[in-house]
């Protein structure tokens, strides 16, 4: 049998060997791109990262982090003065709230910008994906036609049955829905009238069976019949539809759910980051493959042209659908986020 001494020696040398075999940090040509991980990132990898590496020789290291994790780590990196990431995923309010951490984009360096929809390049973010937080309902339960507006969503007499709404870190979604249900026009929601919105939510609260926390949970609720309609991510709704469920996704009055690519200030690879962003704007077929798999459209202008007219009409990035969505004010959300979340928690946990 091995003696204890030999065992100790063995384990120490093993530890040393493992330590020296660990990969050295920051390969020279590597670009670090942060997205939310999972199957979504797999598709980004296949349709964008790998072809980009093939064309330019610039390797991309994908990092998976939720939105919250992203900014927590960016904050920690800034405090340690060691920015290890180049490109991150940002929601509209992040572009304002995290402006200090983000580099200003020089849109003139994106030579392929004409291939993107109008307004894709903003001060600190390049439009990446587009969808909505929509009314998604079980069409089987409403053969005469389901809810088409937030007023319908609130109308428990005409459209009876339990509902679900999000409790997923962005309380302005249900608050915006409440204001629209109360008659506020979708382009005049901000600044949010919180008293009015919470009062309207009080009305519907007995019919809200579940406040979902993750996209997967919201899907399971409709799949299992726990609820008959939900305010949820359009992409999750379309995935259910693909699985053969009689699901309808309503673009009317949907809250836009937009993702941006943003560049971190102080990253060492800015030229390569611009090269990737510019490359992302090209190749409509790749955008279509990606969008078909993940049910979120991208910023590519020419992608829609590849679709049949019927298919096009269901898409979030179709101009007629975008025109029906609510208008958000990211600056207001960024400025009032903490207070709104605190009041939301207070209201919800009563």
């Amino acid at each position: 049998m091995l003696s204890l001494r030999t065992l100790t020696l063995l384990s120490v040398s093993l530890a040393v060997a493992l330590g020296s075999a660990a990969p050295s940090r920051a390969q020279e040509k590597e670009l670090v791109v942060v997205a939310t991980g999972g199957a979504f990132e797999q598709a980004l990898r296949k349709n964008f990262y790998e072809p980009f590496t093939e064309k330019t020789g610039i390797r991309i290291r994908p990092v998976a982090a939720s939105n919250a994790e992203t900014w927590t780590k960016v904050k920690a990196m800034r405090e340690a003065n060691a920015i290890g990431w180049d490109i991150v995923t940002a929601w509209p309010e992040d572009l304002v709230a995290q402006a200090d951490s983000l580099a200003k984009l020089d849109c003139s360096r994106l030579t392929n910008l004409s291939q993107a929809v109008d307004g894709a390049c903003t001060e600190r973010g390049l439009l990446r994906t587009m969808g909505g937080v929509s009314i998604v309902y079980d069409a089987k339960r409403f053969p005469q036609g389901g809810p088409q507006t937030w007023a319908d969503f609130w109308d428990v007499k005409r459209f009876p049955g339990p509902r679900a709404m999000p409790n997923a870190g962005a309380p302005w979604w249900p608050l915006m829905a409440a204001l629209m249900a109360d008659g506020v026009p979708r382009d005049k929601l901000f600044p949010l009238d919180l008293d009015r919105a919470f009062k309207k939510l009080d009305e519907l609260r007995p019919s809200i069976a579940v406040w979902w926390r993750t996209g997967d949970q919201s899907m399971q609720l409709l799949r299992s019949g726990e609820v008959v309609m939900a305010m949820m991510w359009s992409g999750s709704g379309f995935v259910l539809k693909d699985q053969g469920l009689p699901i309808s996704v309503v673009w009317n009055d949907a809250v836009p759910n937009i993702g941006y690519w943003a560049m971190l200030k102080g990253g060492a690879n800015q030229d390569k980051a611009y090269a990737f962003l510019d490359y992302y704007l090209t190749r409509p077929e790749a955008h279509l493959t990606f969008a078909n798999a993940f049910k979120y459209d991208t910023s590519n202008r020419n992608m829609l042209a590849l679709l049949s007219p019927e298919d096009r009409a269901a898409r979030g990035s179709a101009p007629e659908n975008m025109a029906k969505m609510a208008v958000i004010d990211p600056a207001w959300i960024a400025a009032n986020r903490a207070a709104v979340i605190e009041r939301w928690n207070r209201w919800l946990s009563r």
Binding site: W71, T72, V210, W211, S224, G225, E342, R346
Partner: protein, 293 residues
């Protein structure tokens, strides 16, 4: 607390007289101590420190906690739920541990596996299992409506009931194991002696077995209670809005709002109250033991 933990450790280890030499023991403990310092004590200490030094000494974060009706209510609810779950696990765990202490051979192996396999299964999996059982068209509701006991499905999921059930289930092994360990070390002669002196089974249990198992009960109660205070995943998955727990609030402040001073203040308050409760609990347990001896 350390005394009961030590006793717990001693009961788990069947010391056979062999000992590691001191330097080797230090070498073995070293990585853990260093790891704890770097990965736990340092960051937690920093988070707690930033709640009062930001950058100068301030109590603003704590004032904010007391000014809003939200935080104290959620803290109270967290401790209440922790207490309820602890009592429930104790009531369920004691008979199981009692039975296990009387088993041996393959029966004991099967019983131990029944306790340990859930412990090794991810909390996520166990929480999802409860979703399947408790949901509107789930197992339990199908049985209830199928038997005609209820007309419509009962709201069993996404409320305090489901969180209590799921947390009790998840934490049960942490109560069973220390109680079992304590019961197992009670010499068999003692109950026999009591019986031979004329005590019936009930008296034997309450006068001999139960007092001797109290250290195990105390370890279990402390472990379950403290673990329940930090529960995060289960309330998020099977809970509803009324089961918002303080751990969720701390997480929200840390990762979503990036307000680390405030997160630190909430964490400090949770830690402070927990330590206070544990001290009080220990004091009472100490008195109990003196009275018994």
């Amino acid at each position: 607390m350390t005394a009961s933990l030590k006793r717990f450790a001693a009961t788990l280890w069947q010391a056979d007289g062999r000992r590691f030499p001191a330097p080797l023991s230090l070498l073995l403990v070293g990585p853990l101590v260093i790891g704890l310092c770097v990965a736990f004590i340092l960051p937690v200490g920093r988070l707690l420190a930033v709640s009062v030094w930001n950058p100068d000494f301030t109590l603003a974060e704590f004032v904010h906690i007391t000014e809003s009706p939200l935080y104290l209510r959620i803290l109270g609810r967290t401790f209440l739920l922790g207490g309820v779950v602890t009592v429930l696990t104790l009531v369920l765990a004691y008979p199981v541990a009692f039975l296990m202490a009387r088993l041996s051979g393959w029966r004991l192996a099967v019983a131990t596996a029944c306790v340990l396999v859930p412990l090794w299964t991810s909390v996520l999996v166990r929480s999802y299992a409860w979703i399947i059982i408790l949901q509107r068209n789930g197992l339990l509701n199908s049985i209830l409506t199928g038997l005609g006991l209820t007309d419509a499905p009962l709201p069993l999921l996404y409320n305090e009931l489901s969180v209590t059930i799921a947390m009790t289930h998840v934490l049960l092994p942490y109560m069973i194991l220390p109680i079992w360990a304590a019961l197992r070390t009670i010499p068999r002669d003692l109950p026999l002696a009591a019986q031979s002196l004329g005590a019936n089974a009930v008296r034997v249990f309450f006068l001999v077995v139960l007092p001797l198992s109290l250290p195990g009960v105390a370890s279990g109660v402390l472990m379950v209670f403290i673990l329940s205070l930090g529960f995060y995943v289960t309330p998020a998955l099977v809970g509803g809005p009324e089961t918002l727990m303080v751990a969720t609030l701390i997480g929200q402040q840390t990762t979503e709002l990036l307000n680390w001073p405030f997160a630190g203040a909430l964490a400090a308050l949770l830690l402070g109250i927990t330590l206070l409760l544990v001290t009080v609990f220990n004091r009472f347990l100490g008195l109990d033991k003196k009275a018994a001896s």
